[in-house]
Assembly symmetry: C2
């Protein structure tokens, strides 16, 4: 039977999703979760998972009302956990509080856990409804969901290019292709990722900081460099400053090799095993081409500057496609202006 | 003193502009012109210039009320003509009709005529207001205005490309990069131009029809082929069918040569001299590159398909730009989805 939801229920879940988002810089390996408790049509408590290792969203909400929620309805963006981890089981805390009804946006994506929290709640006689704003709740935790299902993080590839698809001049010159507003947007994008991957070429040529520089935002994504040829030796490079952690993956320190080169898929699994849910790929044409070739990219964020750079400039990806039948198909998810740049969000079809 | 206009006046001019647009397939070398006559706050007549050589918009409106418009206000999108041409002077007809007030969106762009119609009207004691919705009225006749001022048509360059800025595979394969909906949009675009320019390479490789194929639309743009090397000899090519006129420009039949090659700027002046207001450039990377290099393109219409074609494919323009300081700057005028394609309208900065 199709579960239906009222306008009121949808409004409350929307609030829970907005709350969840507030945890975006803190939850790290964990999912973002928001929770709203409603009694007699009034919100009596709100909470979200704020920080890795700290209380879950449901507990933060229940605490506000001293764990007393007799007859209330609890809205939560992700299925409450059934197991005691770093904190007590949320399902148990909900049961103990006297909540009468629980509305859940989506089940736990971990196939080993999926549905167990719901079983606990139902067994305790609580009415449970599932699936309200499921899509929005999934987008919230794209990375966490993918990692739970595949052990690999969600890979978002950021590209700054001209209208004719170029990222640098033949000389290598590439600074300030995009506008100041677009570059600020990239800073926000970085802040929402746990790691940023690039290749040794970018590090050697551009010596980037690869950090988040946004007032009031404390996000320090891991800087990951793919260094297949052991080229990163100069410790005065900006990536070795103390602003954020850095991981250089080279044949010497890495077991993830395939035919003498770094096995990119394995690199991602390694990052997934470290609890990294989402990665921003900010790389040159070679690494982007290699990642696309083995289908490792989930989403592209393209900043397109209103310029033409000409036929001698370098394209966004090094990847030979001989025949139109092998073209790579994308789905355009969003197109908007960011200053005078066009920002395109697209997923691989 | 700044002329101000009321909401009512703006509404009437908006109607006149919409009327003008109805002439888009018929006016050819002439401007599109719409006219509305208002008396006691009611529209008593409407007209537009329908067809080259036929009555102007003002005359078509006046005819409806037997040229009797005593005390009325006449709205017209372009300054009424002062000279007797193929038809009687519109300014004189307006004066004779008894109109009390004339509101004009913009003056005649021809510097030799500009303002003369207004002088006639004012001399006859008619109140004249100028500049209402001038921008909209200018966009209506971009091509006519440019030709009046420079003797050259307005050049709109249409490009169909992948997200990575490619228009064909290295093999030359290029069919169906864009979607069916985008291709229908191109048909509408073609219909709004008096000529379509391409290069001999496109003709030889793709053997295109270069015609408008739209139900109910009778528009037959002149097919112009730039054939610098006298390569178009096969008369069984589609461009030689009788569906539309064709003009092959080669060193044999053309005086517009510079250092042995066709002088593109001169080609455009030749087309302007033939009364062509607007040209759609649908060409390969070479001709587009050559046109950009000497700054001949006014506007780009880019259909971007949600695909990646890879680094071996051909870019949209052959033009070497060595240094970022020489990059070509554009202004994005409009971005919208056409089916699953992104349509970008941009002008040269």
């Amino acid at each position: 039977m199709l579960t239906t939801f009222s306008k009121n229920e949808t409004q409350n879940m929307t609030i829970a999703i907005k709350l969840a988002l507030q945890g975006r810089y803190g939850v790290k390996s964990n999912p973002m979760v928001g929770c709203v408790i409603v009694k007699h049509s009034k919100i009596i408590a709100k909470g979200y998972h704020e920080s890795f290792g700290q209380a879950h969203g449901e507990i933060n909400a229940l605490q506000q009302i001293n764990y007393k929620a007799h007859g209330a309805t609890l809205y939560v963006t992700l299925e409450p956990c059934s197991h005691q981890g770093k904190t007590p089981s949320c399902a148990q805390a909900i049961i103990n509080s006297g909540v009468k009804k629980v509305i859940i946006a989506m089940l736990d994506p971990n196939p080993l856990v999926n549905g167990k929290g719901v079983v606990m709640l139902k067994y305790a006689g609580i009415e449970v409804k599932i699936g309200l704003l499921k899509n929005d709740a999934s987008i919230l935790n794209q990375g966490f969901i993918k990692r739970m299902q595949t052990n690999q993080p969600f890979i978002r590839c950021k590209v700054a290019m001209s209208i004719d698809g170029k990222t640098s001049m033949s000389s290598g010159e590439s600074k300030w292709i995009t506008s100041k507003v677009a570059r600020l947007d990239v800073q926000k994008l970085r802040a929402n990722h746990q790691a940023i991957i690039t290749g040794s070429g970018t590090i050697i040529n551009d010596n980037p900081l690869m950090t988040v520089r946004l007032d009031g935002v404390n996000s320090k994504p891991l800087r990951v460099v793919i260094d297949s040829k052991n080229q990163i030796t100069d410790t005065s490079l900006n990536i070795f400053n103390t602003d954020a952690p850095t991981l250089i993956l080279n044949p010497d320190n890495t077991k993830v090799l395939a035919s003498g080169k770094l096995d990119l898929s394995n690199v991602l699994t390694q990052l997934g095993n470290q609890g990294i849910n989402n990665v921003l790929l900010e790389a040159g044409p070679k690494l982007i081409g290699a990642m696309i070739k083995i289908n490792l990219i989930d989403e592209f964020i393209i900043y397109m500057a209103p310029i033409l750079m000409g036929s001698d400039a370098n394209s966004i990806l090094n990847l030979v496609i001989k025949d139109m039948s092998y073209k790579i198909k994308l789905d355009i998810v969003d197109v908007r202006m960011v200053g005078d740049n066009i920002k395109i969000t697209a997923t691989l079809k």
